[in-house]
Symmetry: C2
Subunit: 414 residues, 2 copies
Amino acid sequence: MTEPTESKPFAQSFDSLETLAETINEVLGCPVTIEDAGHRLLAYSAHDPQTDSARLATIVGRRVPENVIASLRRDGVIQRLADSLEPIRVPPIDEVGFSGRLAIAIRHKDAVLGYLWLLESGKTLGGRELELFKQAARAAADKMVRLQSAPRKIREGLRDFMWMLLHGQFGSEAAIRDKAEQIGLALPAEWHVVVVQAAGAIDEREEQRLLDRVAASRSVRTVLHAVDRAQAILLCAPLLAETDRRIYAREAAAFFRRLCRGEEDGFRATVGGSAFGQQYAETASRHREALTVLRMKRTYPRETETVFHYSDLGYYRFLPAIAAQIGGERFPDEALARLRAYDREHDANLLSTLETFLASDSNAKTAAEALHVHANTLSYRLKRIAEIGGIDLADMDQKVSLYLVLKAERWTGG
Amino acid sequence: MTEPTESKPFAQSFDSLETLAETINEVLGCPVTIEDAGHRLLAYSAHDPQTDSARLATIVGRRVPENVIASLRRDGVIQRLADSLEPIRVPPIDEVGFSGRLAIAIRHKDAVLGYLWLLESGKTLGGRELELFKQAARAAADKMVRLQSAPRKIREGLRDFMWMLLHGQFGSEAAIRDKAEQIGLALPAEWHVVVVQAAGAIDEREEQRLLDRVAASRSVRTVLHAVDRAQAILLCAPLLAETDRRIYAREAAAFFRRLCRGEEDGFRATVGGSAFGQQYAETASRHREALTVLRMKRTYPRETETVFHYSDLGYYRFLPAIAAQIGGERFPDEALARLRAYDREHDANLLSTLETFLASDSNAKTAAEALHVHANTLSYRLKRIAEIGGIDLADMDQKVSLYLVLKAERWTGG
DNA sequence: GGTGACTTTGTGCAATTTCACAAAGCACCC
DNA sequence: GGGTGCTTTGTGAAATTGCACAAAGTCACC
């Protein structure tokens, strides 16, 4: 009494790879994992009573751990899977917490699209079940091909949409909302632009890896994205719409900071985020903000170390305008000019002393340490600075004026 | 053997009042002074061996000293001069160093245009000489009438020129130089624009009084001037071209500050000066700078008390740009927003405390005094400010950011 | 090679600032 | 009317800072 659905459970079309994974799990009674060719997790059956640590790590990291892949490769498992059309029984590898699997390559026209793994918990599957397993792999291949081709068009539509937003090519906010609805994109109420600056040009694979990493953050969602040479431009929003903006901001900053430091899979980059926006018509402005953050981080690396969002920049965000204004002025700052002249003529360093002193919040001790000089040396220099520059170092207005000009000069590239 | 020129030495036309003064001196052998109706010095004979202190003071100050005028008026001398067509012998007034004169009013159609003074050094003039003196007064009247009408046209030309400069109506610097040459105006190499803001509209008489006061400064020269309702716009330069710019800047600032305080003849005004310029094509920019100084003085009266030149403004000159940028931003400063909310809800004054503290150069003692609170009160409030606002009050960058936003808010008019 | 101006470092005292703690005032709520 | 939390003021000890002075090093100039 084997009904057709019983005998051919994988002849149907599946909603998603997750549904397929669950179906396999139901039919064969084992935990299932579906990976792509790069061992990235595509889907897995949930609610499995037993799961070894390798599988757990794969699910948590959304990728098979590096050491597991290395072991499998060393043992020739990956090679055999690539060569064979049949399921292969992979023995346990205890060192990496891998308890043995039944595995098969997911193929389409000779190409390996991915892998289907089955954790035979206790039992051993027989001939008919192996046949079902092969059918499942074929179903996975079908689904993956369809997923790949359908989203490609959607993805291109999204990319175009992103570029249009970035170039401000929509007449109005309403036009943007219409277009989004048309391509079936739900626009979050609040979002920000994040620009990831890599060392070299970003290709599609690297872009995908970046997106995967962001997805793995479990807090940041990439709504739209585009790549411009070495920069990936992401329009991000909280994964959960109900997340408080401040909490999300902190999480996002923390995540991208980890990403920059290369803590996420060795990827090294510089990241700048815009302020938060509600109006999508302002995407170009937000993009510019993110780029400004990046440039700030290049110009003032030490000072902006902890900065991620544009709004974290504080007064630094005024420096471009200030530098522009100073550029248009004919008169140099008298005090700084005198100090500079003195430095030049006497090979001194009053200017850098002043800057460090100001940056140290006028704390003589801290500044002396930062300069690696004796406190009295600093005190002496400050006296000279006050004399030569005609500066009152106990006057906030004078200090702010000097500080801003010094900072702005660095922005200009003096 | 009296030749015509000997018998009628004042029948000729004189180049200037100075030439006339020298001629009178030659003919009558006495020091001569020519004044206008307001007792301003118009011309005097130079190289006089003896001169009393009243005359000396008149020449130096280019005006008869106030106390001398007062004495003469009290003694009825001015009145008698106004009434009489004949020369009057004025007795000495020792208290004011006035050693006695022969004097006559310079008249034209019943109006007194000025006065001609002769210091009879030792001798006493006889009938024929008195007649010559009367003729000299008539010659002076002729010259003054002609001088008055001729300069009126020139003056109008200068005024037009000034307005054209202020409105940037010249195509090039060369065009400006050409025009200046054409109207016979020597343009100083370095100059600045000064705007004097009076309480009410400035009429011609007040303008003239202002110009006289500037002339009396003995350091500032008004090259060009114009009036726009309550504002007099002066294009000023050092009286002596060789004066060092810095010294001149100090003198000009000191003079205009005195003027503002009403120390010069009770005239009360606000004054703003531009930075120094060399290019006359930039007059409009310089004018804008002077106006900016004026507005700054209105917005930040305490902070800009000692400011006169635009370049004295320090970072204040960046505030318009900063305020504009903040105005375009959607995100408020989080820390300040929280402090403001706390102030509102608890009727506290953390924000003003913060501002005073920052303005006091983070000096707790000074700030406490400025706020009229106990030092510990301030210390407590600062702790709360740090907590509530999430501010590190020992971080220069944070402090500058807060300070600038607070200042910019005042510029915007918050 | 000496001289003098400028700079750096070291030392120690006096003054000031900072901070913890206590007490008291005040508004608000139950 | 009393409790509670926030705020202000007062006190004194501890820590820090400011400053004068001395000594020594550096460099240019004669």
